[in-house]
Symmetry: C2
Subunit: 335 residues, 2 copies
């Protein structure tokens, strides 16, 4: 039942070397022999042993997908996009999650596990520390990052400054001038890169328009619904004159909407809220947001990685844009 290359070779009346070449599409095989070998292999149900070919060739045709979580919206979509792109190219995806500990912020990452097991590694969504990256680099495989970049490595991700600019432009276009910003806790690993960059972008966009960015206009609780809810309360306690809120994620934005409701404020009549991401429920709750496509980012990163493996040149950075989708949560301010 478990036929090997010799069985195919014998049945096709050629040597194992020819079978190997024929099946892998290498040159120097007559088309007729190649066809015959293919047919025989097919009939015998032959599939080359991955271990044997990896051992002999040094290539695994497998990519490591490194991520802290798979069950969060952004990560799940990136992984799905990457896996599909890899499979389309005949590559396998080895899923490798690692624990993340806050306080002290620390990542439990053992690069040894990946050793000789993959041809490249995709790091999804977490800013690693220098030592951690060095550990990965020591493996000697090409690396591509999705989300938080790292100097000297290819990275694909959202243009966070532009996201903030779009949000602020949308709100100011409606007439808002006192616009709060909600982000995650500074040492929340989830928040780190996108959170910091979106806040920087918000600040720059506000300043460019001569609008206020004082401390009372920003809040940093958790990067989730509960955090957004707590943040909006903090914001409105400090600055009751806020008429609009830009949240760094849809989950926080939904939390902000709920927080407004807690205070008897209506969205968008009293407070406008805009988020980032494009999660499904936001569509049904009428959340205005800046939609991004993490699946596409994952697929793009995977493709870049495969090109790096073949030695092809790839851009050091691929920037994705978010798209404004206006729903019911933003409107002109009251007066």
């Amino acid at each position: 039942m478990a036929h090997g290359i010799v069985d195919v070779a014998r049945a096709a009346g050629v040597s194992t070397a020819t079978v190997s070449r024929a099946l892998r599409g290498l040159p120097n095989v007559t088309e007729s022999t190649r066809e015959r070998v293919r047919r025989v292999a097919e009939e015998l149900g032959y599939v080359a042993s991955p271990s044997a070919s990896s051992l002999a060739s040094g290539q695994t045709r497998t990519i490591g997908l490194l991520t802290p979580w798979v069950s969060q919206w952004f990560f799940a979509h990136v992984l799905e996009g990457a896996e599909r792109a890899l499979r389309a190219e005949g590559f396998n995806a080895l899923l490798h999650t690692f624990e993340v500990a806050h306080r002290p912020r620390r990542v439990e990452l053992d690069p040894g596990t990946l050793r000789r097991r993959v041809d490249g590694v995709l790091v999804v969504g977490l800013p690693l520390e220098r030592a951690e990256i060095a550990g990965l680099d020591a493996l000697g495989y090409p690396l591509v990052f999705v989300g938080p970049g790292t100097p000297g490595h290819a990275v694909v991700g959202l243009d966070d400054e532009d996201v903030a600019e779009q949000a602020v432009a949308h709100l100011t276009g409606l007439g808002h001038r006192v616009i709060g910003h909600i982000s995650g806790e500074p040492d929340d690993v989830l928040a780190w890169s996108p959170g910091v960059r979106r806040e920087r972008g918000w600040r720059a966009s506000m300043r460019r328009r001569g609008l206020p960015t004082d401390p009372g206009l920003t809040a940093h609780e958790g990067f989730d619904v509960a955090g957004g809810r707590a943040s909006v309360h903090r914001l409105l306690d400090a600055r009751p004159d806020i008429t609009a809120v830009f949240a760094a994620s849809d989950e926080m934005a939904l939390g902000a909407v709920l927080g407004c409701r807690d205070r008897g404020l209506r969205v968008p009549e009293d407070v406008s809220v805009i988020g980032v991401d494009g999660i499904e429920i936001g569509e049904h709750l009428g959340l205005t947001t800046l939609v991004q496509d993490p699946g596409d980012q994952g697929a793009t990163a995977a493709t870049m990685l495969l090109e790096l493996i073949t030695g092809a040149p790839v851009p050091s950075e691929v920037v994705f844009e978010a798209t404004l989708v206006e729903r019911g949560s933003t409107a002109p301010p009251r007066d």
Copy 2:
């Protein structure tokens, strides 16, 4: 830099066989030798080549995770739980998604890819057809299913009949008697197994109490927010006397809440709504639901698979229970 087993053997003054035994914790190695070998291996940064040991031993220490999606709540959590459990046992997870086509319902699954690449396969959340399962079986690996079971194979999943019973018991306990049920489309692959079983459970629980189960009390649109919203409209159009709705998922339940709002009905004053799953946003929107833990299901299934691989006996079925969490979306009926 890339030291092999012979380097370790030489440096430790033993044979490669001893190194292999020592490092893998096999018996018949003096503790002192084992320690010395360990130290040398550590110093040299030696990690056995997975391809080489797989080729020689026939074991890959890798498990295939087969799933149609990774970006859906249930699936993402199962995968995450399974991967963590596998990693804890020193196993790797090979993520393998496959396309699912509706109409004609068909699964694009090529078992050949998994050939000799894994020691076992975890099938997550999709009822495969007989031929597809036969294809997997032909690989000769142990199989464990999460969610929809398959005769003759180990399966872990929720007790869907009990979920329905708990929902109906909760609602009737509050005084409801006309209770609608919302499920996915019958040929929606996502809905298939849990949807069908929860509906059967709803019907049985209602009948047991002498309550109505006529066709007007069930609706089957998509297994998502939009589907739940459409379904509740259909339900209330047909039976305006409905006072409570049991939705087979939290997403559909949230859709039902929105649908009620569309009609100017209040939840829970006019209509009570209960869901199943325990998604995060439901907590903040005050959705009463039956909470399940898919991560635990994934971890349990992974552990069972590892035991099957070692030849240990495992139960043919592990049943998880859901827990009722009362929040604000259910209350006694109006009068």
